[in-house]
Symmetry: C2
Subunit: 298 residues, 2 copies
């Protein structure tokens, strides 16, 4: 269970005496968990169940009217824990890389309009067989949009993905690799820029790493978000959509979240479950389970 329940930006619950509610104070619902719902349906679902934060994927936003989405979220009192996602900086040619940079600038504008705590960055897969070259593309792409993020006041958060996704989604596979990138682009020594670039600690992607506790300690205030789900063995279905519900798998989630708390992370904990199984069930039932498991297994 989440031991450090104080979340400074959600002050309502500081005076709350119902402990079941208190445990939800840090819950954020990542929209992909209830993939079948529209943004307005997600807002209603969160309001009804006292879920204080939501993390929308960009495909839910209306093309040219992100402000109406922002208003709906604000009206419901929902914090936007993150916007998912920017990144995908790797491409076979210069044209592709330029398109990615333009898309990241749009994502930064949207994150700004939504007042999102961060924009999640999924960096992009290997190009050909050139891992080092692909990682250089990521560094250059991030470098190209960092000033835009800074002037918009949007925090970028690199999410290392599981190594099994290196060929499809992300050549940044470990938290330490993400932190190396942060250090290179926004060195700690330069005051004021350090935390402009942060990291997401997603349990599903990093749980296996023997160096995880040390990497979380190293990350410290660079932690921009924590995501939970579970690793259920054996993995079934597609690599990207076989995640389990918290408590159904092998990840020690209280330990992982506890490590983040210990170095000062007090923000939302997003439930992000990409799962063919859970997507096949009614959204209400899934949300019931999310809330139940969040209070007992996170």
């Amino acid at each position: 269970m989440i031991r450090n329940w104080r979340w400074t930006e959600y002050s309502v619950c500081l005076s709350c005496t119902d402990w079941a509610d208190v445990d939800l104070a840090r819950l954020s619902l990542n929209s992909i968990t209830l993939k079948s719902l529209s943004l307005s349906q997600l807002v209603v679902a969160c309001e009804r169940r006292d879920v204080p934060a939501l993390a929308p994927w960009r495909q839910l936003l209306p093309d040219n009217d992100v402000r109406s989405a922002a208003k709906a979220l604000h009206r419901a009192g929902l914090t936007v824990s993150s916007l998912c996602r920017g990144g995908m900086f790797t491409a076979a040619d210069d044209h592709g890389r330029k398109l990615a940079i333009a898309d990241n600038r749009r994502a930064i504008e949207q994150a700004h309009a939504l007042n999102a705590r961060c924009l999640v960055i999924v960096v992009g897969p290997v190009v050909g067989t050139d891992l080092a070259g692909s990682r250089a593309m990521v560094r250059d792409g991030l470098g190209a949009v960092l000033a835009d993020a800074q002037s918009a006041g949007v925090r970028l958060a690199i999410e290392p993905l599981h190594p099994m996704l290196a060929a499809d989604r992300s050549v940044v596979c470990r938290l330490d690799e993400a932190l190396d990138l942060c250090e290179e682009l926004t060195p700690t020594a330069v005051t004021g820029t350090r935390d402009q670039l942060g990291v997401i600690v997603d349990a599903y992607h990093v749980w296996w790493d023997a160096g995880l506790e040390a990497a979380i300690a190293r990350a410290g205030s660079r932690i921009a978000g924590v995501h939970v789900s579970d690793w259920v063995s054996p993995l079934t279905g597609e690599l990207a959509s076989g995640r389990g519900m918290m408590g159904d798998g092998v990840i020690d989630l209280p330990q992982l979240v506890g490590w983040c708390d210990l170095v000062g992370y007090t923000g939302p904990v997003e439930v992000e479950i990409l799962s063919d199984h859970w997507w096949s069930l009614p959204a209400d039932r899934v949300l019931d389970t999310v809330i139940d498991r969040f209070t007992t297994n996170v």
Copy 2:
């Protein structure tokens, strides 16, 4: 292509002028690549195609007569590049861990009888949600059989498996983790024991790791074997049997093998392809392709 083709233990090819043959001098066929064949069928296949080395899985060995297998391999002039496998030291209770140690002692005897260059160690999966505890079981299990290996003259080789197999097969996921274990159990400072415990560099399991080149340099003479196959995206079928043929995927195999050569590895390069696709094809055709791709893509 393998640039350093000298393999001191296969001196026949040192005077060879047929470069196609020279390239095969380091080829070893891991038996699982042609899963449908018996040990005697594999021996015949290797003899016919001038494959100089074979790496049998233990299930191919007759229960109480490993010496007849050893004789057949010796008669055919085949080097046994490795025996697959020992390990699986993690278990929910003491009884299970003792059974694993007993099984590893049998595997060490078999590796000795076959004059195998090493016994591959797949350490075992996470027990419950306790990664650290599971890794301690691995350390203790390896520690318990190290003296047996030493007196039998059998080299143990820890094979880190891909992090996606941490819940099913191995809590040692990176080459650096395997080397940490080696350092702990057989410190470099103790003369004569250092290389008793080595590592396997299997491209499929470690290709994604940004720290791989440095880890290979760190490993140096601890490298007891190199395995090749390829990572084909998207991964299909079961996690453990979706490997690709060399050249069909995203791994820069010449670079990886070159890094091993650079730190002094001159031994066999095993082709180990666990693949529902390749298992469905005739063994002859698969071996043709293995030989072709080994000379052009490794």
